[in-house]
């Protein structure tokens, strides 16, 4: 079964540093998302991406965040200057049409 692949699985970074989280969505999917989940809490929407541009972004997704799909396969989330409160599990997800999302296994980001 096709999978959404995320790397790295775990990233530890110092406060103020930039991080890039990488995702390879399923190849024939059209809509791409980043979600995050703080430990033990619900899954929160960050940003959606369709047709090579951002469709919607949440209040969390401020100027420190950006997304790119540089080469038609990879989908990246960049946090320019990490804060302690950015520590969370970040999930990439994709879908083809109006059906369920396929989530990647996530990147656990720890900001110290």
């Amino acid at each position: 079964e096709p999978e959404v692949t995320q790397t790295p699985s775990h990233q530890v970074t110092q406060m103020g540093q930039e991080v890039i989280l990488r995702c390879v969505p399923i190849s024939n999917h059209l809509y791409f998302y980043w979600y995050r989940q703080i430990l033990g809490q619900k899954v929160e929407f960050l940003v959606s991406f369709y047709n090579n541009e951002i469709s919607e972004k949440s209040e969390i997704f401020d100027d420190q965040f950006s997304v790119e799909r540089p080469d038609g396969s990879n989908f990246t989330l960049k946090i320019r200057s990490t804060k302690l409160e950015d520590s969370a599990m970040y999930f990439c997800a994709s879908r083809r049409f109006s059906y369920g999302y396929t989530f990647g296994s996530g990147t656990r980001l720890t900001v110290v």
Partner: protein, 113 residues
Amino acid sequence: GQQVMQIPQYQHVQEGEDFTTYCNSSTTLSNIQWYKQRPGGHPVFLIQLVKSGEVKKQKRLTFQFGEAKKNSSLHITATQTTDVGTYFCAGPRGIQGAQKLVFGQGTRLTINP
């Protein structure tokens, strides 16, 4: 904005007992989706319900979508240890095509073997 509420937050049962989680939306939904997240894992899509009053079954799991399309439930009959995890409902929000999912808080199911 649209909110999706789930109860209970936690449920602990003996293996073999039934389990139900309930989901309510503040707005009418075009569809509702259910996901399961095993401990340390990622959300895995279980099912999507679209029609008012729809009931779907997957083995021991029964999913219902309310007549008003604002509430839903997941019922597990005779739980097994493999059912452990957090069950999330999620409703789409936004314009068709560019919709995002709004998740409920989830119900964490633990099972005593």
